[in-house]
Point group: D2
Chain length 421, copies 4
């Protein structure tokens, strides 16, 4: 596969057809490797780019079933990738003095069935998802193609570039699961500048937002209550009601969200309990998340959450188990002058820029941004403005494909500016 001949829109449409949810990005990873392997990049993948904390993994059965459906082969070792060590880190050293600039692109899709309606562009133009149970409904297909397009730009400009470039293709951003283990594995060690960004998110078409704010710290947890079943009429007292425990737990959790240090969020997104109308429910499961405007708030909230879970289990005489399913720290711009300078530079290079954009959600690139800045580097998160159709995570989500080139150019100009600092 030759990246050189590939248009960024074609790339996007290619990846759009093979959406793969977090830790299952098997084809996606292989395709990225294949595009980059003969391009002068040093490639790392599998266990080399992950630590021990891959959060929110699919079950072994799900993973195996999907793997079996693919029948992937390659002339390099796929085994680690197929165990869920997905993603790629591609490094290019210009051999000229200069900073190490890392760029992060997230690559996973969502468990959503894509629209087949005629007015949905991917359907109309024939590049709708081929995987019935998944869809790129948050623009990560765009992010991958911007990453590859940026790689192409490096190749084309390698004679005039300085320093080192690291392209991080990160799995499992949805549910904020993938960044932590990559940071653990050291993928941003030694990075001077980290660039990241997201298509859309409120910036108007053609507007480049420089320096996003308002990343909530977040924790994702799965809670299991295990009781004792009993016939609800004949001997209800033999039961230990896991459904009732979950119901009480859910209610009590929502009472915990008032903090003076900043806003917090708590959501019990999913509750599943019981198996039969006339049996005291012995199983219950909840998928919850907490958030805080800052780390402190999320941590205080999590402490209270733990107590409520434990206390509820005691109240209803059931067992409980909590599994960490994801998480990301908050992020605050530490050097507003730097952000301002980058913004000004990009303005001067013809971009319509905007600052102080609030994300109002969470993104695990904050693990990388904080890590880089804690080590003395700097980080910027962009929003690449474009027209969005459907909300993110909607089955008719789509974006204006002009943003792909726009984003590549913005990143390239930023890189050039930073190289000259």
């Amino acid at each position: 596969m030759d990246l050189k001949c590939k248009n960024v829109i074609d790339l996007r449409r290619e990846f759009h057809q093979i959406p793969e949810p977090g830790w299952l990005e098997f084809q996606t990873t292989v395709k990225i490797i294949d595009y980059l392997k003969d391009s002068g990049f040093d490639l790392k993948y599998g266990k080399k780019i992950h630590g021990s904390q891959r959060m929110g993994l699919p079950t072994a059965e799900e993973s195996q079933k999907y793997k079996d459906s693919l029948n992937l082969t390659a002339d390099y070792d796929l085994s680690e990738i197929l165990q869920g060590y997905t993603g790629v880190v591609a490094t290019f050293d210009t051999k000229r003095e200069g900073p190490t600039i890392a760029l992060r692109f997230d690559i996973d899709a969502l468990f959503i069935e894509e629209s087949g309606e005629a007015d949905h562009l991917p359907q109309k133009e024939g590049f709708r998802s081929k995987n019935k149970s998944a869809m790129h409904a948050c623009g990560h297909d765009g992010h991958i193609s911007i990453g590859l397009n940026f790689a192409k730009w490096i190749m084309e400009n390698k004679d005039r570039l300085k320093g080192k470039y690291t392209l991080i293709f990160q799995p499992a951003e949805e549910g904020v699961r993938g960044a932590k283990s990559m940071v653990e594995a050291g993928v941003v060690d030694g990075v001077d500048y980290l660039l990241a960004g997201h298509i859309g998110l409120g910036s108007g078409q053609g507007v480049l937002s420089v320096g996003s704010q308002g990343f909530f710290a977040t924790t994702k947890m799965d809670i299991y209550f295990e009781g004792v079943p009993a016939h609800a009429a004949a001997n209800p007292e033999h039961g230990r009601n896991a459904l009732l425990a979950a119901a009480s737990c859910a209610l009590n959790l929502y009472t915990l969200t008032q903090f003076s240090a900043g806003m917090s969020r708590l959501n019990v997104g999913i509750l599943r309990a019981g198996s039969s109308r006339n049996i005291i429910a012995n199983h219950a499961m909840m998928q919850i998340e907490t958030r805080g405007e800052n780390q402190e708030v999320n941590e205080m909230l999590m402490e209270r959450v733990q107590k409520v879970i434990e206390g509820t289990a005691l109240s209803f005489d059931v067992d409980y188990r909590v599994e960490l399913a994801g998480g990301a720290p908050s992020y605050t711009i530490k050097d507003p002058d730097f952000i301002q300078a980058v913004s000004t530079a990009l303005s001067e290079r013809g971009f319509t820029t905007k600052s102080n954009n609030k994300l109002g959600g969470s993104e695990d690139v904050t693990y990388m941004m904080n890590e880089v800045e804690n080590n003395g580097g700097k980080a910027i998160h962009f929003m690449f403005g474009t027209q969005i159709k459907g909300q993110p995570h909607h089955y008719k989500y789509d974006f204006g494909e002009e943003v792909l080139d726009f984003a590549t150019r913005a990143l390239a100009e930023t890189a050039l500016y930073l190289s000259d600092l």
Copy 2:
């Protein structure tokens, strides 16, 4: 198919292999018809034996899907049966003066996957369920075969029998869904004596319990809350949380069960809510049931339940919908002397009898028993004692097959006794 040559144990094993849950008893109904159609019985099925209140129907999709998997044909019209008007009513008129005696046999199975373990008799002897998603785990396969065996006994003794016999093969007893619409359709009109019974249920092997008590009145309901989804971090206030409504509703429902007029029961057996961790849940569903030692208690409880559902919807600003999924009245023995007389008669005919057996659950045959008694007839519910393996509704449930002949004889002797009163 010739009933005459059929052993009751073979019959049971035949039906055991084709378990069909309530309102899906397509093969079962056809097989019963086929066994009886040339035996002198007058057969009714389809809409003729059902009123408008078939409760707790499967969804149209489930029903269609199952129907498609079968490819059933017959030389009579199957269309109503395949629309879920399942069950058969078979009448035999001896043309000799005597009472009308009805016998009720329930025919449905459960959504349970049957054990394939070597020590499970149906597996060992090769008559395990052929339907992976269903199992006769409450002995109704036995009940069908007793019914057919009883039909055979009528055929064999038709020259000496008196009065009229009505064999009611009732669908959808599980979840107490099927009896009501049959009563509405008049299947027990004009009945002088109604005989019903259940294999096992606490009576020891070879013991015949005459006159069961302690049927709880019960109502089964499915509750749906419909809210508004929203991103849990970005704009939680746009959401209307159906999960939280369900949780609060469940808790509040369980507070309602204290009544001086008798014991009551309430169970929320299943709660399913939400679709994604980071979305305010907009759907929630609960399967609940109420019970009362007597009708009055169940009705008072249901009134309170309705208020809690409505009030909860208002509290959380969500819509709600309640679907009646089943129900049965309580039953009290009205003429203990009659029961005693039958018991004594059966004793004299060699049966080990027992009385005052508490069911401690619900059974919708009570609709038929109350109807018959309200019209001046009499009803008896038996328990046919045998050794049970596994609890009812357990994936390794099994019973001693000697009970099939025992139950047939008990019913036959009872019928003979009643004919001579």
Copy 3:
């Protein structure tokens, strides 16, 4: 004070004017002693008639304040009585062979302000309560006067009576608090027959109910949650919300009442929490009670209650404390033949009798009844039928005073019958 000249109605009206709630029966105790001290009875009071488990004591302040308001003096030591060791046990030994017959009379009043309306007999006839905060609104003034009238009967018939008589004037029956410590102190040791009873309670005027049933086992508890206060706007996270803990606890407690072994009851009768609208509440108090148709049910319920309290405290990160405030066992008639024989004997002596009367509540005389029967004796609880005005515990409660003589005679005839067995 000379009992001989006292009419039972005058006695009742005298005690009606000095109602004293449980453990505060200071004047009442002294008056009973004064009436009996020169009558040949052996009197015991103070610590001699109480063990260590006096439940549900008033606070030291309440007790002291009431004591100070009275200025009681006597020529015997009042100190223990004034510490709340109230009640009297009066024994008379006929010195003739015969059984030991104990009779129990409860002596406490309620914290209710008595009606001053013209149609309320005590007001009209000038014997309304002189204590504004208390009232004999459950007939215990009648019980005391029946006890003293019975004592008078003993005196008048001492030359023909056999065996020993023990009159137990028990404090603190309301809230089932007083009997336990008297049993501990041995007041019913060696008793062959225990007679107890209550005025009214559903028996019609002139009807004597022999052998009451349906005493619920019960436990009374005060629950305290102790949190941390905080300004609700400025720093809510510093608070630990005792009010929320109590609210969640109350709700969860009410979910616990379904048992196959019999009916149960749970009530949170009082909840008091918080001190200011804008402060996270750091104190909460609940007065609760549990009941069971039998001991087993109440015990299972109490175990679950304990878990909910403990679990709730953990959930909301507050401290808790549980104080036992009262309790009584259930009581079942163990020897129906004995009850029947007594009933027949009383019938023959001219009483209109009735049996199988359900109390539908709790009474701590059950401690004494069970103790006597466990030691081989027998117990009977009567209901002395009369017309009641107002419900028990109502501020206009009153009863027909003819019942006082009726009850005395019934107890006397029973005693005579038992002495001759």
Copy 4:
């Protein structure tokens, strides 16, 4: 009473001894009138300074009882004041052209028993509260004396002052109850500049904070649930449980506080329910408050609160009643340049100033500030820095009395500056 000879500290100590909670400021109002009536001010009081919306009034009984305890007389009509139309508005017209400057001073105390400990200055110096049930524990005694001291300054400088001065002595600030009805009555109509402030609140000694921020919008409500009582054992089903309704309501209310538009607060500060352990509680009362970082958030929250109250009443089949007990809007500085200019001017006049002070609570002077600004005027809220002992609302609260003169001078200098604009 001659204001001229009165030291501001003496004034403060005089008012400190007669603390009167909101709408009961009878002596306080009379004393303010008496101090000002011969000083050239035009005085208004009673119904002239209040509209119809006096929120959170004490009960008629409380009010009458307090009134009776005072025996107040005067040579002017006290009747409206003694009906709770407390407070005074004093206007002085210099007759020289210039702006109308209003100053607001709150005058109410709290239901707190003041410390009698030796290290508490008011005790040591002999000016502790003479009203056992109330205390000036939030510095409003200081505010009154600053107001009177300011009046004295006007008198002393009347020949050089310009424009008009309005001194507003507002009742019932605690619980944010008093400002609304004064605004309704037009007390700030025509005001060009409104000055308000508070002693202490985090500003260090000698520091003048100019332009406070972070006033939460707030609503205070009393919620009543009215059910049906019943004996908890004998006939629980006759009861309608107001305690359970309140418990469920409290829990559900706390789940409502997540909003993207800003922080919110909700507190159920007081819950009182039930009257007896063994009776289903038929009364329940809750004192709650909501807050929002801005008006919008508080309003969205209040809408949800209303639904939960109504829905809960429906769920538990009880009646409900909601009484508005207080409220205040949020306040945002609209003209930061103006605040900055004032701050600079005060700096130049020798004050150590500070800006951007967050209140983190609510204050109903915001009704007046918003009203003035909506009519084209300007408003400033100061914090007069001093050392505080004990927290506000603590029984040992005290402040450094040097602040009284400091605050008077700050307000005077501000007035002079504004007059010259």
